[in-house]
């Protein structure tokens, strides 16, 4: 059911890329979209995933931006849990399953809240991740979580509606908990759970650039609200 998970490791990244493109189309055609396409429907609303998606403008644009990131995170953990690395400890399986479930809640929340304004499901590209390797999975997870934290922290000031800001705040602290837990798995009882006194805060452009290697779908963000300050990395 999950096309990307079945790819042989021997495919190089360009082969994998075209293969994923094809398999994404095939998956959509057959309705086999459980890996990454929202709740399973590759909705035509907000654009076709193969043509790219436009996040839109205003607060809705920021919510779509968050929806895009949550889609990638949910897809990543879904695969990490369904194709676990060798000898994954029970506690690690539990943790990664919990995180997967949280990211699915976040993804489904944004999809429901955005309704007809929601972008289509994205096609992830995890070709660089070795899902059979603990270090590769956990380091990717850590990178995703830290990116997510800095994305929400940087997006707060771009929101006009205080209700949305509060919701972003409710989510970002859970992403930060994930980041800490993964950091602690990689380097137990060090400072890896919280590497700085202040977390990052990145603007959407910087975040989408960092996320770029993990997504096939072109994400257009040119209409998003612009910050009038510098990017606080």
């Amino acid at each position: 059911m999950e096309e990307a998970a079945k790819l042989p490791d021997s495919l190089d990244s360009s082969d994998r890329r075209s293969f994923l493109k094809m398999s994404a189309g095939a998956a959509a055609a057959f309705g086999l979209t459980s890996l990454s396409f929202g709740s399973g429907q590759a909705s035509a609303m907000g654009g076709d995933a193969t043509m790219g998606v436009d996040l839109g403008s205003g607060d809705e644009g920021i919510l779509n931006y968050a929806y895009a990131l949550e889609q990638l995170e949910a897809a990543f953990y879904t695969q990490a849990v369904s194709t676990p690395y060798a000898n994954m400890a029970a506690g690690e399986m539990q943790m990664l399953s919990d995180i997967r479930d949280h990211e699915i809640v976040h993804r489904e929340f944004f999809k429901a809240a955005l309704g007809s304004k929601a972008i289509a499901g994205l096609t992830p590209n995890f070709g660089k991740v070795k899902f059979n390797d603990r270090e590769s999975v956990l380091k990717t997870a850590e990178a995703f979580e830290n990116l997510g934290v800095s994305a929400y922290n940087g997006a707060g000031k771009l929101l006009k509606n205080g209700d949305y800001l509060l919701i972003a705040g409710k989510i970002v602290s859970v992403e930060a908990r994930h980041a800490a837990a993964i950091g602690d798995l990689l380097k137990p009882r060090t400072d890896a759970f919280a590497p700085g006194a202040l977390d990052g805060a990145k603007n959407p452009d910087a975040v989408l650039k960092a996320a770029g290697p993990f997504v096939m779908t072109k994400i257009m963000a040119s209409s998003l609200p612009k910050s009038n300050g510098e990017d606080e990395k």
Partner: protein
Amino acid sequence: MNDRTAFEQIEPELLERITARPESLGKAASVLAGVASIPLALGVLSQAVFGEGLPDQIVDVLNFALTLEHIEDDFYRAAMSHSGLIPDSDKKVFETISKHESAHVKVLMGVLGSKAAAAPNVDPTAGGMFADVFSNYQTFLALSETFEDTGVRAYKGQAGNLMSSPKLLTAALRIHSVEARHACEVRRIRGDKGWIGGSSRGTLPAAAQATYDGEDNCMQGGVDLSKLPGVTSAAASEAFDEPLSKDQVLAIVKPFLRS
């Protein structure tokens, strides 16, 4: 905006130097560089009067945050000074948290300048209720978890009050998520999950319950999370942390403040 003028002067250079950031991490050296330069950064700060131009509402929010950070800072510094309290295996964790809380105090005092409220007189034993807080590691951990989870909810509850100042809002968010990291780590050291399930205080004493009340909320922006496809009610609750009002937080920390 008045506060922007004041804050522009310390952004981005100052915060950049005060803080070590995950993006620039990867290397321990940059963390150390960030920490080592705090006194330098503060030297710059202490000569400037930043609080003067801040609107009253923002001063109130920042002083509320400062009071909470003072409680945490005092608590961890005292703990670090009690040799034998924290096992060697966990020392690095609490050294890190302690350093962060000190940095938060310094950042907030720096922004508030002359408007900074006086440091409170902190009583980590809460009038004797936790008399063994610095001799019994489990008591210390329980209070640590409670303070951190409370801190997360406190910052979250104030974000909306900082919307008029994008830079201060961002600074507060950058602290807020670090408190959540602390909370997760301490919870895991205590053997709990890093996230809050329902409104459960887990193995914490009943006195901690107010810190977890309301965390079971599953209605977000008009969406009932528990009804979403593929979502369990356990995950729905864990996936969103909830805010506390200033009054709720002050009621929680009141026993730890000597009047």
